[in-house]
């Protein structure tokens, strides 16, 4: 048997998280270094997973399986395909940078890092799970630590409210998805939660699919911040401590989109086709509304929070097009947006930790004192506004192309308006450019307000390392998309096969 790399990558953080609880509370350096080393191990593993995947072969690879509760057909199955592979890598990146960024956490770091690792376990688990039960199991594992992390280390003004709101939204979503999944289990009559088998053998009537698709899809997509279920998300971003914001926007929101695709679209393709126009409309509202709200925000974190809503709208739009281009774009956008928001939030965190404010008008001239943060933020901004040769462009281009094309796929009531959806969504990018430029201008350039001048101390080497890792991943994707889009393509191919196109 081969080295069960996916199981290792999933459970290793869980074990580290559990072990951290047994560390002496007061030796904070030891805790931090342990966390860093462990996160580096996971990063190396995720890079290994990414590059050992055989692109030419495609499909699901590195399968591990184990009969978990055989009496009811619950199996532990993990595998990666082209869709989940970039997410596995992204999680490694965000975890490592999240640990680096959180070096300064002084209040109960043991609990913080332990929870962060448990969260990472859940996230990895969802991305590799190929059994519905396994997927739900990890999904909820991923949702929960967020609550404590936001409530304990978050921004004092809103953390309790935000943490609760976030958790309740996500849990209710996941329960509805669970009900949908159980309906599939019962209807299929196969007595298994194994998604491979359900995908191949289950015969669901069109009516069944149309009824149950919304349960599964909406249940998961709540986590992706889709309109009208988005408003937990900016609030959560703002309240969360830096590393959690990074995780939240960086990978957790992708979890929703990914699971909606894996369980919703792939297992209930007819349902997906039926509901597609409605989802397109919702995603479109996301894109436009998110960027408009972002433009009016004065708090940097709110701004980026709403811009996440907008960008995740693009992911959902890509998924909803149900064509090759759109799905590829959604996959790329998930990675790109993940690394980008992680970068944004880490920059904002560094500024906020020093200046103790995130209000755009109260900041200025940060570039002079923290040049690296400034450059990183600008790069993030360029990604966000879809500047070519940055990853955002690479990801958004196929989404728009997919949206153009969605109009030809079949008669539905908005068939004639896809062109406008593509055009107006693209205009949202210009709005993004406007607020990003404004924020960059007034936060990083100009005069430093006296109040914060003395506080802008240099950043740590850990922060620098984190920034470099994130920037490199963004630029790598932007300059040379082929290393990721060929991978995603293999995943998209199997989805397209299911959709019968």
């Amino acid at each position: 048997m081969d080295f069960p790399i996916l199981s290792v990558i999933t459970f290793f953080p869980g074990i580290v998280g559990a072990l951290l609880f047994f560390f002496p509370e007061d030796n904070k350096e030891q805790i931090r270094w342990t966390a860093l080393l462990a996160s580096l191990v996971t990063l190396v593993l995720s890079v290994m997973v990414y590059f050992t995947y055989d692109v030419d072969l495609g499909g699901y690879q590195m399968v591990d399986r184990f009969a978990w509760i055989p009496a009811v057909g619950i199996n532990y199955i993990v595998a990666v395909d082209g869709m989940s592979l970039p997410m596995v890598l992204l999680t490694g990146i965000v975890l490592t940078t999240g640990v680096l960024i959180s070096w300064g956490i002084d209040d109960r770091p043991r609990e913080f890092f332990a929870l962060l690792f448990l969260l990472a376990m859940g996230v990895w688990g969802v991305f590799v799970a190929q059994d519905m039960f396994t997927l739900f199991f990890f999904y909820e594992v991923a949702v929960f630590p967020m609550y404590l992390m936001i409530a304990m280390w978050g921004w004092k003004k809103t953390r309790e409210y935000a943490a609760m709101k976030l958790t309740l939204f996500l849990v209710v979503g996941s329960l509805f998805a669970l009900i949908g999944a159980l309906a599939m289990y019962a209807e299929s009559g196969l007595g298994t939660f194994d998604m491979f088998i359900i995908q191949e053998q289950a015969v669901f009537s069109e009516r069944f699919q149309i009824i149950w698709f919304p349960f599964v899809f909406v249940g998961f997509i709540v986590l992706a911040g889709m309109f009208p279920f988005h408003n937990w998300s900016p609030v959560g971003h703002v309240a969360a401590p830096t590393a959690v914001s990074m995780f939240h926007a960086g990978v957790l929101m992708k979890l929703g989109a990914y699971a909606a695709l894996r369980v919703g679209v792939v297992l209930l393709p007819e349902g997906a086709k039926f509901w597609m126009p409605y989802i397109v409309i919702a995603a479109f509202i996301n894109v436009v509304y998110g960027s408009l709200i972002a433009m009016t925000r004065k708090d940097l974190k709110y701004m980026i929070g709403y811009s996440s809503v907008s960008h995740m709208g693009l992911v959902v739009l890509g998924l909803a097009t149900l064509n090759e281009l759109g799905l590829t774009g959604a996959g790329l956008q998930m990675f790109s947006h993940g690394a980008m928001t992680a970068l944004f939030f880490s920059c904002i965190g560094m500024v906020y930790d020093r200046a103790h404010t995130r209000m755009i008008p109260e900041l200025g001239g940060v570039m002079k004192k923290l040049p690296m943060v400034g450059v990183a933020f600008i790069i993030g901004g360029l990604v966000s506004m879809g500047m070519p040769l940055f990853s955002g462009f690479v990801a958004e281009l196929p989404i728009f192309m997919g949206a153009w094309r969605a109009g030809v796929q079949g008669p539905d009531f908005i068939a004639n308006y896809y062109a406008w959806i593509a055009i107006i969504s693209a205009l949202a990018i210009v709005i993004t450019a406007a607020y990003i430029i404004r924020a960059v201008g007034s936060v990083f350039f100009g005069e430093i307000p006296e109040k914060i001048e003395a506080d802008l101390t240099p950043i740590r080497w850990q922060d620098r390392t984190a920034i470099v890792i994130l920037v490199v991943s963004l630029l790598a994707l932007g300059f040379y998309p082929a290393w990721m889009d060929t991978v995603i393509k293999t995943g998209v191919d199997s989805v397209m096969a299911v959709l019968g196109a």
């Binding site: 509370e25 009496a71 009811v72 594992v141 609760m164 958790t167 209710v172 009900i179 159980l182 019962a186």
Partner: protein
Amino acid sequence: MDFTSFEAAHFLVILPEIILVGIAALVMTMDVVQKGESRRMMGYVTALGFLAALLIGIAVAAPSGDPKLLFGGTIRSDMLGFVFRAMFLVAGAVTAVLTSDVKGLGKRGDFFAVLIATVIGMNFMAIATDLIMLYLAMETTSISAYALTGFLLNNDRSAESGLKYFLFGAVTSTVMLFGFSLLYGLTGHTNLYGIAEALSAGNVSFVMLIGIAIMILVGIGFKLSAFPFHFWTPDVYEGAPTPITAFISTASKTAGFIVLLRVFIVALSTSSGVAGWLPLIMAIAAVTTTLGNLVALAQTNIKRLLAYSSIAHAGYTLMAFVAFQQAPEESVSAVTFYLMTYILTNLLAFAVVILFAKVAGSDEIADYAGMSRRSPNLALVMLIAFLSLAGIPPLAGFLGKFFIFKVVMDAGLVWLAIVGALNALVALYYYLVVMKVVYVDPAPEGAPRIPIATPYRIVLAVLTVGVIVLGTAATPFYNWAIAGASSFF
């Protein structure tokens, strides 16, 4: 079925209960003999006695082969009954340890003897298949439980709650007894299987049957603290000594469920009967869950909060029960497994409450502020317990709820699943509010750390591990539940 044959070997089936009688005698003796600090040993002896009974039971009393009706059909030796007995024994053992350090109870031999008597009663509830045996077992349990609840005579709250429990219990059990008598009168049988046969002949009118079902439901509903027989629960839970609250909320409720399974599925599930009472129980399940959760939102006392949450949990379990017609074995195994997870989790939660109350002298949620700084480990244990109650993986409660949702969906009861999902959300809210107080709110100045004595450590560790194992490597436990379910039919 042969109701009359008797062999001496049949006594092996009730050997655990026989051992418990011996332990009770031993404890009573120790009560007389032991002096001073060593009296504390009585709690441990009781606990070890329960464990011994469990182990010996596994060795000799575990049913093998087909289920058998014994002792003239009064008891049934099947896997389901055995699994429930094991649960009662574990709950009893934990309760004994938890009590050993409680002021006013820990050094009272009579307390432990009554506790043992309660468990004996419950064990017989689990296996009784005859109305008379069943009623005897239930009364043994109830009367002992009244005594345990009101044990702290010089504590007004305890005495009051004992009385309240007694009054409610007496009334409901009378109603149930009336129902039993009607059943006997109409069928001429006291044995559940005999009754089932007689009823299936169709001589009893539908209205009569529903009337009887409702009367019996009154008695069982009281045990389950299901709506609308739940009113005693918060007051009794709050007033009773906390270990007893833990015990009643877990073991006693579980005992109610095995009776529910036996009476309703074995005796009353004629096709016309089911059509009558099943919708009623469905409604009760939905209302009980919703009501328990909604009222729990408003609680400021942790014991009352757990009381209402336990009402809600009874509702969830009923949800699994009502699916028995479409998916019989899945339904019974889901009920069984859920109760396993619930017993462990709730005991763990109460264990934390007991420990905290010993230091803080309070059960108010507000006083839990900053507990995570006063005792990070205890806070972590509490977190695990509450998350398990809320149904978050990788903890026992998640799997328990998962199986309930699964069986409800298998039965096609989508509306009930949605009710359950919304309820899970409400429940998560109030559990999280408590955890927020524990983890986020600042501790009062100079609050002492919370010491944990070694026996408690062991109990906490065992229960915590149990909660995690039942949430992850649950396969053997679930297989037992399935074995129980299949032996039941």
